[in-house]
Symmetry: C2
Subunit: 284 residues, 2 copies
Amino acid sequence: MDLDESSLLDAVLATLDGTPDPRLKEILTTVGRHLHAAVRELRLTNREWEQAVEFLTAVGHTSDATRQEFVLLSDVLGVSMLVETINGAHAGTESTVLGPFHMVDSPARELGDSVNLIGKGQPCVITGSVRDVDGTPLSGATVDIWQCDENGFYDVQQPESQPPGNGRGLFHADDEGRFWFRTVVPSHYPIPTDGPVGALLAATRRHPYRPAHVHVIAEAPGHVPLTTHMFVADSPYLDSDAVFAVRGNLVTEFAEVTEPAEAEQYGVSVPFRHAHFDIQLARA
Amino acid sequence: MDLDESSLLDAVLATLDGTPDPRLKEILTTVGRHLHAAVRELRLTNREWEQAVEFLTAVGHTSDATRQEFVLLSDVLGVSMLVETINGAHAGTESTVLGPFHMVDSPARELGDSVNLIGKGQPCVITGSVRDVDGTPLSGATVDIWQCDENGFYDVQQPESQPPGNGRGLFHADDEGRFWFRTVVPSHYPIPTDGPVGALLAATRRHPYRPAHVHVIAEAPGHVPLTTHMFVADSPYLDSDAVFAVRGNLVTEFAEVTEPAEAEQYGVSVPFRHAHFDIQLARA
């Protein structure tokens, strides 16, 4: 009763004393301290508190089965990339953010299949490998791929014009740890700007663009799952990704190929673009 | 590109440089610093980040036209009371939290009306006044009242059994700044525990109870609006309010009256309970 700014925090933290899970207690204690510190430092007004409640509620209401606005909010505040940076500090290929579009399961596909179900865009072949950090091929590793189309939209953003699973595929690496599939070159694109996160970017005069990329989650038994991107080397916005996710090591040449023999090998016609991405997974 | 834990925060803050509204820039800078600091201190895992996203999304999805789970979350973390403490440090009656149930407009009522539309509960008369800090009556001040019923539920929680507006009333003080109305004695009650905030309380073994109270918002031209409670003096949980909102000055006797003449004055029968609450509003 009659708590002041400081004793109020003490009272809140005291209610966590009986929390059985020590990690939950630690998380809530740290979050509570920083929340109270931020509000105290800002001398937040009642109206600003109401606006914060309205904003967070709108972020929740904008999230549904195919859209995750809280992930987007975490992304544009650099929190997603911070979590990746903290947890990705191990051997193997560097990780980057999951992003908000991994909301649906990628359809299982065979090596060599095309993930381009609509036939438009610049033809592209992506090849790669999944190996242990000592170079041992990881036979049967799963490679989950998702990307936007040539106009910068994911299937879930355009249910009217893109069939479900367009731009997505779940592949299994062969006995030598290799994978390959056909696709189109993804475009750079704006993150969705029609929700509260878009309003936040507009209010801060930030651009909403991400450089072109293909999402990858690679997994193999006994290894740390890897969430990462292949970034398209000649894309704009590599130096100002709206979600701070670019790693130099992940920037990949999507080279134009005009050699008919090479095209024939992959079942495409010239000219096409070819990217190669070797993945190394850390041991669990 | 290739940002580390520290340069990542710098990059995020640099994107705020062009924000036209200096207060928005200040808020986002402070929130960004504390968010990043909390994640770094906790060494948050990817799975914990996912759980945080899932929790906040569930809080959003639980909020609708008659329920505000983000307000409830702010309440149980002591943030709402902190904002009140920061902003209520002026002359006049002390403020306390708004709470999550002020989602609908209170129906306009005449002085002396009853806000008890269902006829059950312990009859009660509440009288009071609205004055300036120098004691001048504030004729015509509005007094917005909302409270739960004898079982601890607000109208919006029980649309099947309580008519809209039960327990609510918007009154205008008379020429001498006085107000009075009939009601029932509110019960102590648990905050809603069927949503994610309830799950949080359960995981931390915190009880969800609030002491019995009547919500009040008093407003008059030229004065700072006041959001406060009358707490019922003999209620349980006055010392452990789940939302940390009790102020000693706001605890009010709800005295039993057995005097028929007094009952007749208010149009009730004996025994009834009578509470008196004098409000002073600070000058704007």
